[in-house]
């Protein structure tokens, strides 16, 4: 039975679609959304070992892009979605080309990504086109054609669909030549280069792919909540949530972010019931991150559940 847990998980994910409980649908939607964010990070950082601490930059670019396009230029968000994904990919390519060409990796790359997201937050706070600190309110016109949803279940179904695509990308990475070469770069850059893998290009492509997926998540966020402001879009806690979800579940695996999102939301919601102090969540995140790094560096997936086997085995 345990062997079929991904099937059970998919069934469990589909159940709320038939439920009339707003609470259940909301919980499932936020969990699936976290899994999507985690998968966006995972594509570059789990498979490619790029330690990004500023992935919110892609999320924010997606969210702001779709919001600005429809409020300013009247572009339908369904068309805004692919445009935002392309912008996310472009941001990944630019950041990657600049950072990797300069030879930045590990904590240096982490600092640069953190700074990159901060710069975007400050820009969004001060520019006129993003309406500064006020943020952008997307006018409410619930209709499927407007990419707005009356019924939470419709929104949830869309999040699930995008999550399925993101997981498809991760599954492709596990099986393809590009993915194998990306993992090789993560494991050992010198050896990868010696075997003919172009380091800068491979890492930049991974970051662009990750940027596109994460920007798409930003679009979904904007359309679900119809509001974007600089700290929602580019805040550091968004970046931390993404890497936390992937790392709890297991970075560099297909199912890791899903498991991570479920566990994180369980912990988070239980904690919220017990202690309802603002600022408690980030503290909790920090504590969880420390525990993960210290005791389970490969996340839940590292615990070797069936169907996750053959994953990252560090030096024995």
């Amino acid at each position: 039975m345990l062997k079929y847990w991904p099937v059970l998980l998919v069934v469990a994910a589909l159940l709320p679609l038939a439920s009339s409980s707003q609470f259940l649908v909301n919980l499932a939607m936020l969990t699936a959304f976290s899994a999507l964010l985690g998968q966006g990070w995972n594509i570059a950082c789990g498979f490619g070992g790029l330690t990004s601490f500023g992935h919110a930059v892609f999320f924010g670019i997606g969210a702001y892009a779709v919001a600005i396009m429809q409020t300013r230029f009247g572009i339908n968000p369904w068309f805004g979605l692919p445009a935002a994904a392309v912008l996310g990919a472009a941001a990944g390519a630019v950041l990657g080309a600049a950072a990797f060409r300069a030879g930045l990796r590990g904590s240096y790359f982490a600092l640069v990504t953190l700074a990159f997201a901060e710069v975007f937050r400050i820009l969004a706070n001060s520019l006129e086109i993003t309406k500064g600190g006020l943020g952008i309110l997307i006018p409410l016109h619930p209709a499927l054609a407007n990419f707005q949803f009356d019924d939470r279940r419709e929104a949830y179904a869309l999040v699930l669909a995008v999550l399925a695509v993101a997981m498809g990308v991760a599954a492709w990475l596990r099986r393809s030549r590009f993915g194998a070469r990306l993992v090789a770069v993560r494991e050992n850059e010198d050896a990868a280069a010696a075997l003919g893998i172009p380091l800068v290009r491979t890492k930049t492509q991974a970051l662009a792919l990750s940027g596109a997926v994460t920007a798409t998540a930003g679009v979904l966020y904007a359309q679900m909540f119809l509001y974007v402001d600089p700290s929602i879009a580019f805040g550091a806690d968004r970046s931390v949530e993404m890497l936390l979800v992937a790392m709890i579940g297991g970075a560099g695996t297909v199912w890791g972010p899903v498991l991570g999102a479920i566990v994180l939301h369980l912990i988070q919601d239980t904690a919220r019931l017990l202690i309802d102090t603002p600022g408690f969540a980030p503290m909790l995140y920090g504590a969880i991150l420390l525990v993960i790094i210290a005791f389970m560096p490969n996340g839940i997936a590292g615990l070797r559940l069936p169907a996750l086997r053959r994953n990252r085995v560090r030096d024995a």
């Binding site: 030549r177 194998a180 090789a184 010198d190 050896a191 003919g196 380091l199 024995a316």
Partner: protein, 244 residues
């Protein structure tokens, strides 16, 4: 196949490689030997694009490749191994080799089959599905060679692939290297084990303190007084001559 001209590299005040020129004819096994710290690995690193030389030139198969990136050099057909083995520790042995096979084979099934064939040929058959981290020193050395071979190189640079192996393992890898050469791959190797160099190489270049001090067959090179001095210290050659 490979022409190295006046390569030089300085690290701060240390002139690691002063002036190295050598040729590796197509189809040959050529050795680069010398005492520890002579600059052999630095020379290798410059040839393969891992270290940018201060001056000098490298031509491979008629193409000027000085200052090229390692991956472009590998794509052109020259691949190195590492003295300190660099496995992809989180991957299986077969997956490690497959990373090399992916250079020429874009199809996943084909690359996997190639990788398993190369691994089996190098005696890694029973270990193919084990994590690379589980390999012994000898196994890791074989993995280095297997990965490089899977890229289907024209010229293979082997950096001390026999160091740390026992005599029977050395014999096995000597036979293997000869077999690789007979398969049409030119080989340049760095080696300390003279018995292996003598058994394999047609030509041995001797490097000491960053400069080539002798070239010839391995036996000629080993008998060269300058080489004896480089290994055993000043005056050693004269003392040895007296004892004979």
């Amino acid at each position: 196949m490979l022409e190295v001209r006046s390569l030089a590299k300085r690290f701060g005040g240390l002139r690691a490689v002063k002036d190295v020129s050598l040729d590796v004819p197509a189809g040959s096994i050529t050795a680069l030997i010398g005492p520890n710290g002579a600059g052999k690995t630095t020379t290798f690193a410059m040839i393969a694009g891992f270290t940018v030389p201060d001056s000098g030139a490298v031509r491979f198969a008629g193409t000027e490749i000085t200052r090229w990136r390692p991956d472009r050099i590998a794509a052109l057909g020259m691949v190195r191994t590492f003295q300190i083995t660099q496995p992809f520790a989180g991957l299986t042995v077969a997956e490690n080799i497959r990373v090399g096979a992916f250079l020429r084979h874009h199809d996943v099934t084909e690359a996997t089959a190639r990788a398993r064939a190369v691994g089996t040929r190098l005696g890694l058959g029973p270990m193919l599905d084990r994590p690379a981290a589980a390999l012994t020193v000898a196994g890791r050395k074989r993995l280095e060679v297997a990965r490089a071979l899977a890229t289907e190189p024209r010229l293979l640079l082997l950096d001390e692939v026999m160091a740390g192996l026992n005599p029977s393992e050395v014999n096995e890898i000597v036979a293997l290297i000869r077999q690789v050469r007979d398969g049409g791959v030119t080989i340049l190797l760095i080696e300390h084990i003279m018995q292996a160099v003598a058994a394999l190489a047609e030509t041995a270049h001797v490097l000491a303190e960053g400069a080539l001090i002798a070239s010839g067959t391995p036996r000629q090179s080993a008998a060269d007084p300058a080489v004896v001095e480089a290994y055993l210290g000043h005056g050693a050659a004269a003392r040895m001559a007296r004892h004979e």
